[in-house]
Symmetry: C2
Subunit: 446 residues, 2 copies
Amino acid sequence: MEIKENKENLKIILDDSSNLSVNQIRRLLNDMSSSEIAHALESSPPKQRSIIFSLLETEEEGDVLFELGEEIQQDLISNISNEELSEAVKELELDEIVDILQNLPEERMKTILSNMSKVDRQRIEMGLTFPENTAGGLLNTDVISVRPNNSIKEVLSYLRDQKELPESTDKIFVVNNDNNYLGELPISKIITTDPVMNVREIMETDIPAIDVNLEDKDVATIFERNNLISSAVIDHKGQLIGRITIDDVVDVIREDADQNLLGMAGVAEDTFAPPGRAAKSRVFWLAMNLVTAFIAASTINIFQDVIDKIVYLAVLMPIVASMGGVAATQTLTIVLRGLTLEQINTSNIKWLFKRELAVSIINGIVLSTLVAISTYLWFQDYTLAVLIASALVINLISSVIAGILVPLILRKLNQDPAIGGSVVVTTVTDVVGFFSFLGLATIYLI
Amino acid sequence: MEIKENKENLKIILDDSSNLSVNQIRRLLNDMSSSEIAHALESSPPKQRSIIFSLLETEEEGDVLFELGEEIQQDLISNISNEELSEAVKELELDEIVDILQNLPEERMKTILSNMSKVDRQRIEMGLTFPENTAGGLLNTDVISVRPNNSIKEVLSYLRDQKELPESTDKIFVVNNDNNYLGELPISKIITTDPVMNVREIMETDIPAIDVNLEDKDVATIFERNNLISSAVIDHKGQLIGRITIDDVVDVIREDADQNLLGMAGVAEDTFAPPGRAAKSRVFWLAMNLVTAFIAASTINIFQDVIDKIVYLAVLMPIVASMGGVAATQTLTIVLRGLTLEQINTSNIKWLFKRELAVSIINGIVLSTLVAISTYLWFQDYTLAVLIASALVINLISSVIAGILVPLILRKLNQDPAIGGSVVVTTVTDVVGFFSFLGLATIYLI
């Protein structure tokens, strides 16, 4: 089993106690593909990471650097010389070099570029002009294009002359004399078609080329909806400027998912980031939560008198707040998923809101019954039991409003609704939870 | 822009106020691909969903059903007759039919199978024997295989005879006379090689075939690491039984990401699930949280006396608990990501634990300073300020232990660590937060 073997390799390399010699590690690394090495680096604490990277051949370094997340990539690059970096990226594809260079300090990028041939430099400078999160950032220029009046026989002999086709070439592209994109020609069609046919007769035009400015997640959607392996990319004049392949699209999907997961908790760092950087990535939302926790505390502060008289209110009040927090996070998660998958729009948001209200009422009835029974059994106080149940229902309803409105408002403000949204919604449910419970207690218990 | 147009179509269909006639909706649906229609269905409340689905042609229904999430798929299927369902799935690929049939009630599945030809029935019954979350569940049998002693010329003419190659065919497979898998032959290599060569001379053997029992997320890893478009699947005897294509792997990646995101909040439902089902999917973790909230309340209950004497302890105690909860969720998220990406193992978990401890101490110093200053400014009580700062540091350290141990223990118990983990870790930080703050107050303030 290949995958098991690699897991073993990784464990051996990372395990201090295995006491490998440099040569033994080098041999293990030689058996691994560049993305497996990248995975090993991403699974390593910083010290081991530098050691492993330093043991790689220069040619391997480029491929590995490209596979790495941005943070680790830039860390490792900052430790190698300009000459080594120039050498490492030499054999990479355009989008890969651009991916690595675009995060470098200006000065350094210029030096690396000046080490390149003029043709390469111009191609890369073109690539660097596209924003990272657009189709342009995923673009490769290794396209094969033919003309509509070529015969399939000519195309076949042209392909044979290439000796080797670029990776993930499932189709070639058809352009006119001005390099305007006309359509595509799947390789499978080329080999199943009578060679006397013309490109024009069998080229496909139903799936349009991708605009270079399209956002990368929209590129992913197009690939998924149409089961694409590669697609042509055109500029605003309709000229073919490159292609995007499925492997880069899969990376986009993975990164998006990763950011969604981490963003909810207000974290943004690689798994084995050094402590200082990890602390920095998390302190913002912790500090925000400190502010909101003081807001919740101020709410309690209003009710010092009633707590002073009936101390077990302090015992029970976190229950109401905590239940609201969990319910709000549930609603928030559903809305975030709906927004990410572009399922939510103005026409169905009302239905969603009503549905969430219905859910909060159904679960409100179930949970407030449970909470009332438990409270009665604990404190033998009928009024208190009714009070906490009512406060819980109120807080579950507030959790719906917060869980839906907060992400929608963040999006309207052009903020990523996935980042730190849970800190904001739980503030609402804390405040409403404490206020409704202690407020009702003030009215009915004193 | 294709993607914009489809977003518009979707909005028009879903908008009540657009008052479309049945024929107008039908026309809009005709312009959409099956996965776009699936997306429209997933973005629709249940009532509109049934209407849209009822307007589809029977041939379209099968493709659309396959693209849908399991829940919606089974809902829609439960409303159509066995004849219609048999007709709808007729043209689908093996893995697609299996995907739809495997969730049907036993009786119904048998009826549908009995409507099929013997060959189809046997293929599908074979497919149904593989667990859904393995390579077998992603398998298609539309493989093209050749023998090692075939010449490339023979292969080319064989391919031409096929008229059309199966979707995502970037390679064909090489087997011996007993159908044992030997290697693969990329289409791009076939057309760039001298036709007099033999298959044996140019076939590739460096990437092994996938075992039919491999877990689907390991399949995804292999595809990603090797930038695969398709891969052979073999049984335990090494026989070629089918192939997996990248489009199905992308679905696996998407579904995993979706489950990770939703699982954290204890939610498992499609975005527009009806209220009853949504309530049911969420009530378990809400009820669990009720139990844990009562545990936290019992902790406070121990300290009734001290709260009775110093009421502002009740005001401040949620701050300590809440900060611990956010920090624990951050650690939990990093560990869950590391486990999902298989970056964490016995060799690096110790480093990760030490790093998290360091992070909690760094952020503990920053945040406890802030909390001490704020508390002093509010209550003018020096001891209280030191107390709450100390309790916060203790709770941040407990948050690391909970955030790392809870997912690891859940995994050891063969539970999905991503599901409801945050409810468990926040219980720990609530209890430790209340206990340390009120406990220290009992010692130093009375």
